[in-house]
């Protein structure tokens, strides 16, 4: 039996970054808002205390902060010809769960996309000609420009206290920053983090090769900070237990450390944890959302009516909910029709391990934060001429090694046995003088016709509903891109004085076992044409005007950067449109 609750002005599905941003904006506008979160409430002192947060086995290996696949998972296959099988335990990406979402255990790498990333198809076509792009590449322009998003990027960075060195202030290139970035209106709110030894050396070597290295923009703060909401954060202590873990000393930007203390005090806000939204309800016409249905931890079902529904869950959860609620036409790759599930992407990541003379180099890899590192952006986006190379896209690269946690960080030279006395000795000898950046090459993944999400025909979740099915493989374009970037990356380690450099190219087929960031994007993309996008440029559903869908699911393709900065900027951009235009006159904000 479903209990119908009193109506709210707005219901927000998922209380992560975008859910918190939207809840705060809408409550400020006077709306009565309820946020419904599948996972538990979490907070620093009780859940990430500094006396047990430093537990690699529990949090990194056993994934304790993440969603349990038993609760929901996806099926996966590389190609349409295969049968998709369940992801029984996470590998390639780590779906979040709980209040704060991915914002709790992210690295806090806080990037902006390039201006050309937003007009990608137009730009690349103009520069290289349409034939330069693979025929089955389905990249699109976003419908919004960098300049339109700039104030909202700024807003997010000042919310977080992001630590960095500006590279482009109002069009003037600044020394020490990223010379390729889009113009920013003002500097970062706090200075860049200090860089440990190997990261500094990388920067010097890169500079020697003619690049312009800069410190990675970091949501792990370089100093104590109070944000515009009055919430305070502390300085990062470079503990090396950042990504995969909660921060124990209030120094990593997260919904908990930046928004929630203010949000929960508002009388017009309420959050429900451990409640899973199972459906977005629409009226008989299919053109208006009436609210959501959710199930609590006892299995009781509730209906939450609302005037406005904001879907703020992680990428694939958004897609699954849209598909199961029959909102928007599901994408069919064969006919190339439909929108939900289209233009699904991940990231193209590779690494380079390097070994140095242990009598000359003591790297102390355990001194690091999640967003540490010196990076170069010469090979990102269209920052270089792709003409001779036969691919498009790129990424930043850097010595971004975030930790020396031993279970995952015992690099040994190639040819070393994987066990036994020689293995033990090699680990002993190399731990302090080897480098393993991790996501060292952080390349884009553009979208393709045969990479998409739909519903699985066989496997079900605990409610008996079809799981989302991922069909994903690398295309030649990304393989070439990665080879090119990885070779460049390796040269820098060589220049640092490594005695041995080991390239680990990203190769097809895409492997669900191998962690490659949690940057799944697309599937409910924004755009200018309802035939090829699910949302308009304000992230409003073309089909259901009182439904807005936040997150990286809106990205028509993924760029060579971490997505959080951009999805947060889009959330502020969308919230602004809701507050200044939609609420005054509910209805479609764009007429296609």
């Amino acid at each position: 039996m479903t209990t119908r609750l009193p109506a709210k002005d707005a219901v927000i599905v998922g209380l992560g970054w975008t859910g918190s941003i939207l809840a705060n904006e809408l409550t400020d506008a006077g709306l009565d808002v309820v946020a419904i979160e599948r996972g538990p409430w979490r907070n620093s002192a009780t859940d990430f205390a500094p006396n047990y947060a430093q537990d690699e086995l529990r949090y990194r290996i056993r994934h304790e902060l993440f969603l349990r696949p038993a609760q929901t998972t996806f099926t996966f296959r590389n190609k349409m010809a295969q049968t998709a099988l369940p992801i029984r335990n996470w590998g390639a990406f780590m779906p979040p769960n709980g209040v704060g979402g991915g914002g709790v255990h992210w690295n806090a790498e806080t990037w902006r996309f390039l201006p050309t990333d937003f007009t990608l198809r137009s730009h690349l076509t103009q520069r290289y000609g349409a034939k330069f792009l693979p025929a089955d590449m389905t990249i699109q322009d976003w419908g919004v420009t960098y300049d339109e998003l700039e104030p909202h990027y700024d807003r997010f960075e000042y919310l977080c206290g992001t630590s960095g060195t500006a590279g482009n202030l109002k069009g003037r290139i600044q020394p020490g920053g990223n010379p390729f970035e889009g113009p920013r209106s003002r500097p970062y709110p706090t200075p860049a983090q200090q860089q440990p030894f190997s990261h500094t050396l990388f920067g010097k070597a890169a500079q020697g090769l003619g690049y312009k290295p800069f410190p990675q923009p970091s949501g792990n703060l370089s100093r104590a900070y109070v944000n515009p909401l009055g919430v305070r954060m502390g300085p990062c202590t470079y503990c090396g237990y950042c990504e995969w873990f909660g921060c124990a000393n209030y120094s990593k930007a997260s919904p908990q450390t930046t928004i929630l203390p203010v949000l929960v005090r508002k009388p017009n806000f309420l959050a429900r944890d451990l409640c899973e939204v199972t459906r977005i309800n629409v009226d008989g016409s299919g053109g208006r959302a009436t609210g959501v249905t959710y199930v609590d931890s006892s299995g009781q079902e509730f209906e939450q009516p609302a005037q406005l529904v904001i879907l703020c869950a992680y990428t694939i959860f958004n897609l699954q909910l849209l598909l199961l609620s029959k909102i928007g036409t599901p994408y069919d790759p064969t006919s190339n029709r439909g929108v939900i599930g289209r233009n699904f992407t991940h990231q193209t990541i590779s690494d380079v391990e390097s070994f140095f003379d242990s009598s000359k180099f003591i790297f102390n890899p355990f001194i690091a934060s999640g967003a540490i590192g010196m990076c170069i952006d010469e090979f990102n986006g269209d920052n270089f001429d792709h003409g001779p190379h036969g691919f498009v896209g790129g990424g930043y690269m850097g010595q971004v090694q975030t930790n020396g946690r031993p279970i995952e960080t015992t690099p040994v030279p190639p040819g070393t046995p994987k066990w036994g006395a020689k293995w033990k000795q090699a680990v002993r000898e190399n731990y302090l003088s080897a480098l393993k950046p991790g996501t060292g090459v952080h390349g884009s993944m553009y979208s393709y016709r045969d990479v998409y999400v739909d519903l699985d025909p066989t496997y079900k979740d605990r409610f008996g509903r079809p799981l989302a099915r991922i069909t994903l493989d690398f295309h030649e374009n990304e393989i070439r891109q990665n080879r090119f970037l990885t070779d460049k990356f390796a040269q820098i380690f060589q220049a640092m004085g490594a005695k041995q450099v080991v390239k680990q190219y990203r190769l097809a087929p895409y492997d669900i076992n191998d962690y490659q960031t949690t940057h799944l994007c697309g599937g409910a993309i924004m755009g200018t044409d309802p035939k090829t996008s699910a949302l308009n440029r304000y992230l409003q559903s073309w089909d259901v005007p009182n439904l807005f869908v936040m997150g990286a699911s809106a990205f028509p393709q993924n760029a060579g950067y971490n997505p959080t900065g951009t999805l947060a900027a889009l959330a502020y951009w969308s919230a602004d449109a809701i507050r200044t235009r939609y609420l005054k006159n509910p209805g479609p904000l764009v007429h296609a």
Binding site: Y52, Q54, D55, R88, C239, S297, F366, I407, W419, N513
Partner: protein
């Protein structure tokens, strides 16, 4: 030794218990929820006899651990470091039963890139594998079991598992060995509260400070060795005023 006593003390009290009661859906409004004694404490390995392994299995795993991480004059081997204890407690717990995994069928064999699709849990697999290993040894090594082989013969057998030349019926021996190496090495490097890495020997071997959390004064000290002994969740000897 006071350090062991500490582990026992911790293991005998709250550390062993999952402090968090079964979570119930709640409402957050008005203020940040906080109450004392609501931490999510780790589940430490309790000292004592095997929880999962039989005596024979335990001995076999100890011998395996000592081949994967042999003892040397500087650092304990896998057995003395407690890796078998680690694995025993892990197999007795959620890891052993694939708790939280998606365990619904049908179980189809896919490609490697689609991840493990094995209905057998680690607990089942280890049991099968250890039995099969002994069975193999009895036949191939003149009636001797795995623990009775010489170190050299053991190594040779393990190389065979690794390369696929030694096949064990009823399971993917190569995959089993890969996972075994991973599990033993994880136990070696995990926090000592989980049973392995005894006295933080593995961390001392590589120079890893453990659970230390504040490096602000060290970020700028490039190319300098970290001078302090490691610390774990259960602390380190220097925490005790009564140590001499």
């Amino acid at each position: 030794m006071s350090h062991i006593r500490r582990r026992e003390v911790l293991a005998g009290t709250a550390l062993v218990l999952l402090r968090q009661a079964a979570a119930k859906a709640g409402v957050i409004a008005g203020e940040l929820p906080w109450a004392p004694n609501t931490e999510s404490l780790p589940t430490a390995a309790r000292p004592g006899p095997w929880f999962f392994f039989t005596t024979a299995e335990g001995a076999a795993i100890e011998a395996l651990a000592d081949r994967i991480i042999p003892p040397d004059p500087e650092t304990l081997g896998g057995k003395d470091a407690g890796c078998a204890v680690f694995l025993d407690r892990q197999l007795a717990g959620p890891y052993g039963h694939n708790e939280g995994h998606y365990n619904a069928g049908p179980f189809e064999k896919g490609v490697e890139q689609q991840g493990p699709q094995n209905p057998d849990t680690p607990a089942v697999t280890y049991r099968k594998a250890l039995a099969a290993l002994d069975e193999y040894c009895l036949h191939a090594h003149g009636g001797r079991s795995w623990v009775e082989l010489s170190a050299q013969d053991q190594d040779e057998l393990l190389h065979g598992l690794e390369s696929g030349t030694v096949v064990l019926p009823g399971l993917d021996a190569r995959k089993f060995f890969e996972n075994l190496v991973r599990d033993i090495q994880q136990g070696f490097f995990a926090d000592p509260i989980y049973g392995g890495n005894r006295d933080m020997c593995a961390w001392k071997m590589i120079g890893f400070p453990g659970a230390h959390y504040d490096y602000r004064e060290w970020v700028g000290r490039h190319n300098e060795r970290w001078p302090h002994p490691p610390v774990g969740i259960a602390g380190r000897p220097a925490w005790n005023p009564d140590r001499s």
